[in-house]
């Protein structure tokens, strides 16, 4: 017994040193990736005050539908029946009618909320959905897989898919008229709103304006800016004279940036997997040292290790085949 141990001591010393080196490297790599990635977070680098934003004052909307029509025109959308029912692959903005119990009617403009920490941006495996420098969430169909995970992730249920397109379906949603913005224009809907319900600008300014409008007329307005904190903050900011829950808003939505929910878990993986690698490598080295069985005849193919030589196929001819 002792003879065997002394006989293998040099080999074990080497393997132990290798093991230590390997484990140190793995832990180091895990720590590095963990440390390097963590501060970045899922959060975007968008300047929250300067981001392009829109203030939507529901109490000022008269329901004319100019926003929807101008959106169709600006984006070259095809008229379909689906445009009467809500957002669709051909409807990037939709004016939703709410008949309230007290007989009043309110109109809510629906479109992509352009979250500052967008769930879809973190969900997309290829960054086909991506956050532009200016803030709006844009889409690059060229690299899209059509996996539709962005649709699952969106807290507001915005992205639409071209279900009737066989090979080149796209994810469809409002891009905040990013091309018009870059050309120095306002989004089509904001330009064409006649009642002053839509106001385009920088998010910081609009947020201040929203609060000052509420403060100036607290009896009229609900004391809440929808989008200030929802889903970690959105570029679309709503103020209203009617409680948001009566207008079909998802008021229970989390105020935490949605990407953080998965990043919490993802960021732990390097450490978990790194330590697992160390444990498994260690275990296999111990097994190999203790057993020694796998080092024996198992290293030769089984058809060469049977006791009686094979009759039909001679090993020598097989070696040529390899």
């Amino acid at each position: 017994m002792s003879g065997i141990q002394t006989g293998t001591s040099s080999a074990t010393a080497v393997s132990r040193r290798q093991f230590l080196k390997l484990s140190a490297a793995t832990v180091g790599a895990a720590a590095l990736t963990g440390a390097g990635v963590h501060p970045v977070r899922a959060a975007s680098h968008v300047d929250r005050d300067a981001a392009a934003a829109m203030l939507i004052d529901i109490s000022r909307c008269v329901g004319c539908g100019n926003c929807q029509r101008s959106c169709i025109e600006a984006n070259g959308l095809h008229p379909t029946d689906a445009q009467l029912n809500g957002l669709s692959a051909q409807t990037f903005t939709f004016l939703e009618r709410h008949d309230l119990p007290d007989g009043r009617t309110r109109w809510v403009k629906r479109q992509c909320m352009h979250c500052l920490d967008a769930a879809c941006v973190s969900a997309c495996p290829v960054s086909a959905m991506y956050q532009t420098e200016e803030g709006p969430v844009d889409y690059r169909p060229g690299r899209c897989l059509g996996c539709r995970y962005c649709m699952v992730s969106c807290p507001f249920g915005v992205p639409r898919f071209e279900w009737r397109n066989g090979l080149t379906p796209e994810i469809r949603k409002c891009m905040f008229c990013i091309e018009r913005q870059r050309a120095g224009e306002e989004p089509a809907c904001a330009t064409n709103c006649p009642s002053g319900a839509l106001k385009f600008g920088k998010r910081g300014d609009l947020l201040r304006e929203a609060h000052s409008r509420i403060a100036a007329d607290p009896d009229h307005y609900v004391d809440h800016v929808f989008g200030e904190h929802e889903a970690g903050g959105t570029a679309m900011l709503y103020i209203s004279d009617t409680p948001f829950e009566l207008l079909g808003f998802r008021t229970d939505v989390t105020t935490r940036p949605i990407p953080a929910y998965t990043w919490d878990i993802m960021s732990k993986l390097p450490a978990v997997v790194g330590s697992m690698a160390v444990v498994l490598t260690g275990a296999s080295i111990i097994t190999r040292r203790r057993g020694g069985r796998s080092g024996g005849h198992h290293d030769e193919p089984p058809w060469l290790t049977v006791d009686e030589p094979a009759q039909t196929d001679h090993p020598a001819t097989d070696e040529k085949g390899a």
């Binding site: 973190s122 899209c144 090979l167 949605i258 990407p259 275990a283």
Partner: protein, 414 residues
Amino acid sequence: MLQDILMLAALFILRIVVPLLLVIGVGYTLARRLTGVKLDFSPTFVMGVGGVLALWALAVITVVMRLTGGLGQVTNLNDQFPLGLWIGFDVMAGAMLGGGAFVLAGMVYVFGLERYRPILRSTILTAFLGYSLLIVALIIDIGRPYNIWRPLMYQNIHSVLFEVAMCVMTYTMVLALEFSPALFERLRWRRAWKITHALTLPLVILGILLSTMHQSSLGSLWLIAPGKLNDLWYTPWLPVFFWISAIGVGLGMVAVESNLSSRGFKRGLEQGLLASLAKFNAYWLGFYAVAKFADLAWRGKLWMLAEPTLQAALWWIEVGLGAALPALLLLSPKVRQSKNALFAVGGLVVACGILNRLNVSVFGLWSYTGPIYIPSLMEIAVTAALFTFGAALFALLAKLLPVFPAEHAELTTG
């Protein structure tokens, strides 16, 4: 009009029936030459094969329609419910059912439990086929299949799906390499065998790491939907539960698959090995059930289990019938020694494991969206076709290659 119909019928026979018969005939002759199996053509056999072939034909038609008319033409998916059966069953449950491979490979190669080697190869083959068909399902399901490789080019490390994609892609290759010694053994390629054999241990360790990452991340996928997924399943521990259940259900699948092959190939069954795996699994599933309750208690959601909702009922079935009951049953040596009982309990674990994945991906979302999605017949046909295709491939490969140890011995004696 009549002429058109006659023309169509003639075309159908010439273009579809005749080539199909030719392919089947040539395939059968080849298979008989290669494997020496003769078919008996009894009525049950003909009915069974006919049914499966009809299913495959329906699946092919579905895929053609999906590629021409879009996903909306063949599925019941819609903008409010964008992912359905193909993701919930084929991808999520498919990966889970392959979970036995990384556990068994780890036991044999990392921890040196050599006695499990006889059932290792068939388990790895099951997993490899499962993962390959998972990728096929994914190619059918995603809107732009030709972009499936794009994650290699544009890496978004914040995306759970990116991580899952990379791990599944790599792990499928690892499984192929882990299985390849069987092929080289059949071909008697000595050098290739030696290379892959020498690589096995690092591959096994890599496989365990990749499996841990993607099995758990298949759960993390749904953490992006807080407030959408029912609170019975939405928990930060969901990825851990996915990993635990992948091991438990994967081992259940090992019992089912061994039993089925023993019946199908009329070979012996490694009852002792399955029994000792089952004993381990009893504790494992018991721990899983307790942890599922503890998680609900920790989040203060235990009251949801008393509610008369569909989701609560499904939770009870999934955890009660799929984890707690099997754990109790497998603790009894009587059950573990009985071939049929072990098969039945394994089947229960597998069925409830699949239910768990569907609960997370379909039924658990119903409480937010309403029951607006029920898979269409064509979606079910594709899933069933992939499942039976996998089984057929397994049977074929098990005939052609040394998958089971008994055939191993036959081969080596020539």
